[in-house]
């Protein structure tokens, strides 16, 4: 008798987590009342940067920053923090129910709002074409609320938080 098991490598985990981070961002954008088209039009660019910097372990956070285009003022932000670990149970998972519950709690934004995707990395990251430095808008007067670990895998997980008054 022969037995087999499928080995899930770090590369598999990076691919899975990259895809599910993008899926989660699309869900958040749609559920808070904004149009995902601007985001999905650049899917390729986001996918390339996130997978490159997850592979090199330089990616710290993927943020969806929502702002009022008339004033450029901060409206809300969703952070997907990346946690690198040396161990994991090997299973790949995404908890979309937890994300949707948090979106319902956070509430809608005005449909006139716009958004940016901002990636935070540690120094020494490899260059990815099209990406450059930028600053976050001030979060003064807002609090950060943790949703918890919603995407995970073999030695890599992503924890979501959002900002609200």
């Amino acid at each position: 008798m022969s037995t087999f098991t499928v080995a899930i490598t770090y590369t598999h985990t990076v691919t899975y987590v990259t895809t599910k981070i993008l899926l989660t961002l699309k869900e958040i954008i749609r559920e808070i009342g904004l149009d995902p088209v601007r985001f999905t039009d650049s899917w390729h660019a986001y996918e390339g940067a996130i997978s490159t910097w997850l592979s090199s372990r330089h990616l710290q956070c993927v943020s969806l920053e929502v702002y009022d285009p008339r004033t450029s003022g901060f409206v809300t932000r969703w952070d997907i923090d990346v946690v690198y670990a040396t161990v994991g149970d090997g299973a790949l998972r995404v908890d979309t129910a937890a994300v949707r519950y948090s979106i319902a709690k956070a509430g809608l934004v005005a449909s006139s709002c716009r958004y940016d995707i901002i990636l935070t990395t540690t120094p020494g990251h490899p260059d990815v074409t099209g990406w450059g430095p930028c600053d976050f808008r001030s979060t003064k007067g807002f609090k950060r609320y943790a949703v918890g670990a919603t995407i995970g895998g073999n030695g890599l997980s992503a924890q979501i938080a959002y900002w609200s008054r």
């Binding site: 499928v6 899930i8 598999h12 985990t13 691919t15 899975y16 990259t18 895809t19 599910k20 993008l22 899926l23 699309k26 749609r30 149009d35 995902p36 088209v37 985001f39 999905t40 039009d41 650049s42 899917w43 390729h44 996918e47 997978s51 790949l92 895998g153």
Partner: protein, 158 residues
């Protein structure tokens, strides 16, 4: 009724969402200079969102009207790693020549914005709810199939 061909493409965790879409485009429109190739490229965002949601696991991307009817499914998880059930072979003839159409399945909540985007870039590609199928004549919806159900009580009347 035309011939039906199926292809099954390996996706996560061996490929991200954009990579299998590139493979699907290669299979459906092998000529890199064709108009179909350019039209499919404009649907990349909607297709990636569909693939990442795994809508294409059980509901096919369907192409019809320009050659063989092609149903493309995506393979996920362990089967994507082992290659079990994967079939990415090129097609004998391109299904995107002539008057072809494509239907991309998506979760119902993504239908509105997906079709809004596709309508703005293509007259051939549309999105449908993953709960619906594409009929042989190209029309969509399970509701039309329901209208053909037999009323047993009436049928058995003398």
């Amino acid at each position: 009724m035309s011939a039906v061909v199926a292809r099954r493409i390996a996706c996560t965790p061996t490929r991200t969402a954009a990579e299998p879409w590139e493979r699907i485009v290669d299979i459906l429109a092998p000529d890199p200079k064709s108009g179909a190739r350019m039209e499919l490229a404009k649907a990349t965002g909607v297709a990636c969102a569909s693939i990442s949601s795994e809508a294409t696991k059980d509901a096919a991307i369907v192409v019809w009207g320009g050659g063989p009817r092609v149903r493309v499914y995506c393979i996920f998880d362990e089967d994507a790693i082992t290659g079990d059930g994967v079939n990415e072979n090129v097609l004998a003839t391109s299904p995107t020549e002539g008057d072809w159409k494509m239907s991309i399945p998506c979760p119902p909540e993504d239908l509105k914005w997906s079709n809004g985007k596709l309508t703005s870039v293509s007259t051939r590609i549309s999105a449908r709810s993953l709960e619906d199928d594409v009929e042989d004549d190209g029309s969509e919806s399970a509701s039309s199939a329901r209208s053909l159900s037999i009323n047993i009580e009436e049928f058995l009347k003398p």
